[in-house]
């Protein structure tokens, strides 16, 4: 079965032929199954934004092909409607708010879908609930009266109300406080539970690795890595290139392994690490000096 996103040999050049020519994407091949969560990582200027704008029809492929939800993005008629399938939340989406009230702002997308007003109302309430804006009368407030974090939530709700099959988040956590981060994490988790497809762009590898099992790394327009987190952990040269520090639990596991203990190192969660360490503890009673009491709680 073909994936929900199929990218084949995609290349993109900006301002071709002018002195400002930039090769933003070079021969990218990538696919994503329905229900998967892809973390897209890359340094600034690596082509992440260019890549995701191909997914909702903002940029049409110059070379290669992009197929999203079975629709060919190079077809101008199909790509014009791709925003309904793949919802792209831009960086700092709160800067794109323009309506007079929170309700109108969130309803902008569904109204563009030409839904009847009752369905719009339903979707707006549902979306606001999802982002945790449940206070009474908040729908009638002007967005300018809200704080930056709240405005970000309104903007994210505006995209959720469209109910796209794929949700693409470009740096959703940038400049957010911990409450806001948890809200984004919550949305992502719920989507994973409902088996909905999500793509998240970030320039923090750590942030992505704790959230997802599938990672793609872009570097100056080329795909430097694509695959599972476990496989990435086995590639220290890539990790070192991005000055990536392993999560604490993995550092512990690798250190134990380096001391000569027989422990599995290809793990991807803190829970798994705990299980492995307790196994080790059962086998070796004398391991107590290495692993002080704090790991007994696992």
């Amino acid at each position: 079965m073909p994936g929900i996103i199929e990218i084949n040999h995609l290349s993109h050049i900006y301002a071709e032929g002018s002195p400002y020519e930039v090769e933003a994407l070079k021969d990218i091949t990538l696919s994503l199954e329905r229900g998967e969560f892809l973390g897209l990582f890359g340094p600034n200027g690596s082509g992440k934004s260019t890549l995701i704008q191909h997914l909702n029809g903002l940029i049409r492929p110059q070379q290669g092909s992009v197929i999203v939800c079975g629709k060919d993005a190079s077809n101008s008629r199909l790509s014009r409607d791709l925003w309904k399938k793949a919802g792209l939340v831009f960086q700092y989406p709160e800067h794109q708010i323009f309506q007079i009230s929170v309700y109108d702002e969130v309803a902008y997308g569904p109204r563009n879908l030409k839904l009847p007003e009752s369905a719009v109302n339903e979707r707006v309430n549902e979306a606001l609930q999802q982002v945790g804006l449940t206070q009474e009368n908040i729908t009638q407030l002007p967005p300018a009266a809200l704080s930056g974090g709240m405005r970000r939530r309104v903007a994210v709700a505006g995209m959720l109300a469209i109910q796209p099959e794929i949700l693409i988040l470009d740096e959703p956590m940038a400049g957010m406080d911990s409450v806001g981060r948890n809200m984004i994490l919550d949305i992502i988790k719920k989507r994973q539970e409902r088996h909905e497809t999500t793509v998240m762009v970030s320039h923090s590898l750590k942030e992505i690795m704790t959230l997802t099992d599938k990672i793609a790394i872009l570097d100056s327009g080329s795909l430097a890595f694509s695959g599972k987190v476990k496989d990435l952990l086995g590639k220290p040269e890539i990790l070192a290139h991005y000055h990536f520090e392993l999560p604490e639990y993995l550092q512990i596991v690798y250190e134990i392994a380096a001391k000569g203990f027989d422990i599995k190192t290809d793990i991807s969660s803190i829970r798994e690490a705990g299980e492995e360490i307790s196994k080790l503890q059962k086998i070796r009673k004398d391991a107590d000096y290495l692993l002080p009491g704090q790991y007994n709680s696992w």
């Binding site: 002018s18 925003w83 792209l88 800067h95 563009n112 469209i162």
Partner: protein
């Protein structure tokens, strides 16, 4: 987002690039005067040749210049049609009550040529002069106005800040446009009202961002003790060189040639 914008400075190291900005601005003004003063085709062709020479010697990409001229095609077409239909003379084509005349067509073509020369002149000026130099040049040219209490320095600061933020503004507009397109804004709708309404989705956030940026910039300038005195310590103060004198003299000669040419043609 990334791309050549109309009139964007292109790095280069040619004679035209090295000319003093004042020279280039004055030459441009002289060209405007001479284009406006003459309707003689041969004289205009000479000016066109001058512009082409400048483009070639500045090593600007001719493809880009053509593209830029193509962008103002509507303006050129409207100019031609208005002249062609509104000038009395020998009829060539009659549609209903209005007639296209031979004299009108000729006049229209000359006016198109004039517009193209003016457009090319300003493109050369903008594409070979950094915004910073351009605003220093304008400041220097306007400096005499300080004697009648016009705050030329403030004016130049405003100008250089606008030059600085124009690309930022363009970029921001394109991001907002893309973001609203992602929510289904119909910028290419055939219905005019839908189109106008959808542009509000760009204009409002752009306005808000500009105002807040202006506020931030004002505070940042204040906190670094900005006062509206001319900057006496500026690096690379302007100095006219031999090449500038040469350029000014030759352009002046061409411009002054408009007088004998128009007398002779009469």
């Amino acid at each position: 987002m990334t791309g050549m914008k109309l009139g964007q400075y292109v790095y280069g190291d040619s004679l035209i690039h090295r000319l003093d900005p004042r020279t280039k601005i004055i030459c441009c003004i002289l060209a405007v005067i001479s284009v406006m003063a003459s309707v003689n085709l041969y004289y205009l062709l000479c000016l066109l040749l001058l512009m082409v020479t400048a483009i070639v010697s500045a090593r600007l990409n001719p493809k880009f210049i053509f593209k830029a001229i193509y962008q103002i095609k509507t303006l050129l077409l409207i100019t031609l049609l208005f002249q062609a239909f509104l000038t009395p003379g020998k009829a060539v084509l009659t549609i209903g009550t209005i007639t296209m005349t031979r004299e009108g067509l000729a006049l229209g073509s000359i006016n198109i040529l004039r517009l193209i020369i003016l457009f090319m002149g300003s493109l050369i000026l903008l594409m070979t002069t950094t915004p910073m130099k351009l605003s220093i040049g304008i400041e220097c040219i306007l400096r005499p106005l300080e004697k009648i209490n016009i705050p030329v320095h403030n004016f130049a600061t405003i100008l250089s800040i606008s030059f600085r933020f124009l690309p930022t503004l363009f970029e921001e507009a394109s991001i907002i446009r893309n973001a609203q397109k992602s929510r289904g804004s119909q910028f290419d709708s055939p219905e005019l009202m839908v189109k106008i309404k959808s542009y509000a989705a760009i204009v409002i956030p752009l306005f808000e961002a500009s105002l807040s940026r202006a506020g931030d910039l004002g505070e940042a300038m204040d906190s670094r003790c900005y006062t509206s005195h001319p900057n006496q310590l500026r690096m690379n103060s302007l100095k006219m060189k031999g090449q500038d004198v040469l350029a000014l003299v030759s352009v002046s000669v061409i411009v002054l040639a408009v007088i004998p040419v128009s007398i002779l043609m009469k």
